[in-house]
Amino acid sequence: MDEDKIKVARKMAFITTDLQQDLIEKSPERIQRVAEMLPSVVRFLHQLRERAIPIIHQQLVYRETDHVEFFNGRIPCLEGTKGVEFIPEIEADKDIIMKKRKDSGFYETNLDETLKGLGCDTILLGGMQAQICIQTTGADGYFRGYNVIAVEDCITSTREEDKRRALDWISGYCGRVLSSTDIIAAYDAHTPIEFPVIYTP
């Protein structure tokens, strides 16, 4: 591959999205899908912490006055309620927690500033839902010049086809899709992870 057409991940951060009580408990399908993914996430978080790779948990927070979709008859993730909290397995309080109010993790948050402060040039994405929050945080990060990696085994959606489509979209437009195992292996072997430089047509 042509040298000036690739760039290499130098410093990574892992960003989880919406791993909160209300969002997971919306439906039996979601509970099931998250349960399937959770061991990978927990293992990956542990590996990252061992390697001092920064972890940021995105927390969706709504207010009483927000016009949002009701979950089970009420506003989900309401400030100050139990439902807004992270599931305990991810031990979020060991890491950076960042509130957000919309889909993209960059939208009116200080995620960009935080990543720059950490010196990160590459974002690893995990959590749910693949087809909105992950996808849009990926696009938004890409627009801001970050290398984007969707961590395949740490991402889920209520429906497998939505996840599949979202990962295809990410690899087609703005990033790479890799497993947590591959990422850790590359990191430990000092193998650079390469990204094509996409010129906007």
Binding site: K100, K102, D103, S104, Y107, T137, D140, W169
Partner: protein
């Protein structure tokens, strides 16, 4: 006696959101209203009605604006309210001259926001060279409106013959004056916080200058008709012309100007850019021997730098919108029934 008809009739057919999207259900609603109005309705279902008033011909059009969000990255509902009506007048071939301005404000709408809207109206009207000749402001209770609604009615005068859909002929070239989809992706992105709003700005702009430029570039009659591509997107406009001319509209997708990020955003949301709303884009139907001249003129105008010939009017006998895909296959694109709703979480 019961004054509250709504309650009695609650179980019957009701207006639904899809009636307002510019697609088929909208048209049916408009047709019902026109039929109910009967002989007092003398509009021709064109965006501008042409009046003979003491021998002078005027163009007049009206539009209400209920934009949500009312404020966005590079504009607001005030700018849209001026541009939308100016563009409706301009594409009829008339010179936009006057606007009226009707505001409906929700109690609690902040005064600074109102000032900002009014300033946008002023700026857009100055750019378009139109004067606002009458105004009206109503305030409704909190919850009885969504922040601010704006009606603008525009009056233009004809110094050249009106442009009409029926003058479009088989073989005419179809030119888009700019990229499509940006306005819709920008607004959807703000509403949902998708990230694209930083890269994709609304195209909202007054197009009368661009229309003047185009019309001046070729002999009279060579530009047959112009339509601003708004709600319902390119698809709605193509179907409108197909119905009016009884000819198919044949468009090559690879020639349709679209920003890469807009395609990306639309793809993420499961939308097709040909259905997306615009606020500063026009479709021009041009005699084939003069299409290149019009295109060259458009390229010199700031709002026309991305203009492209995207297809042509087919032979009469079959209506419809035929889209040649990037792989060479031709698909017949149906008109949408209502709004295309983005797939969200």
């Amino acid at each position: 006696m019961n004054y509250v008809i709504a309650e009695d009739a609650a179980a019957t057919e009701a207006v639904i959101l899809d009636h307002g999207t510019g697609a088929r259900l909208s048209r049916e609603l408009v047709e019902m209203i026109a039929a109910e109005l009967g002989p007092i309705y003398i509009g021709e279902m064109e965006d501008s009605a042409i009046l003979s008033l003491s021998g002078e011909r005027l163009a007049i059009t009206t539009d209400s604006f209920v934009v949500q969000p009312a404020f966005f990255g590079n504009g607001d509902i005030g700018k849209i309210a001026v541009c939308g009506t100016v563009n409706d007048i301009a594409v009829s071939g008339a010179i936009p001259r006057y606007l009226t301005l009707g505001l409906i404000l929700e109690a609690g709408f902040p005064m600074p926001s109102l000032r900002r809207v009014i300033r946008s109206i002023r700026a857009a009207a100055e750019e378009a060279g139109v004067k606002i000749v009458a105004g009206d402001t109503k305030v409704v209770g909190k919850g009885a409106a969504d922040q601010i609604f704006i009606n603008t009615t525009g009056i233009g005068e004809f110094r050249r013959p009106p442009l009409r859909m029926k003058d479009v002929r088989p073989g005419d070239q179809i030119i888009l004056s700019g990229q499509i989809g940006n306005h819709a992706i920008h607004l959807l992105s703000i509403r949902e916080g998708l990230g694209f709003e930083q890269r994709v700005a609304s195209d909202c702009a007054p197009l009368n200058g661009l229309v003047d430029t185009a019309l001046a570039s070729v002999p009279q009659g060579m530009i047959r008709s112009i339509r601003d591509v708004t709600r319902g997107g390119l698809c709605a406009v193509m179907h409108e012309y197909a119905r009016a001319t009884n000819c198919p509209m044949e468009v090559r997708r690879s020639d349709v100007p679209v920003m890469w990020e807009t395609t990306m955003g639309a793809d993420m949301l499961g939308l097709d850019v040909i259905h997306l709303a615009n606020e500063g884009c026009a479709a021009l139907f041009v005699d084939p021997d003069h299409a290149q001249a019009v295109l060259a003129a458009l390229h010199l105008h700031p709002y026309g730098k991305d203009a492209a010939i995207i297809g042509s009017v087919g032979q009469p006998g079959s209506e419809g919108f035929h889209l040649t895909q990037k792989d060479g296959s031709v698909v017949e694109v149906e008109e949408l029934l209502g709004a295309e709703i983005p797939r969200l979480c």
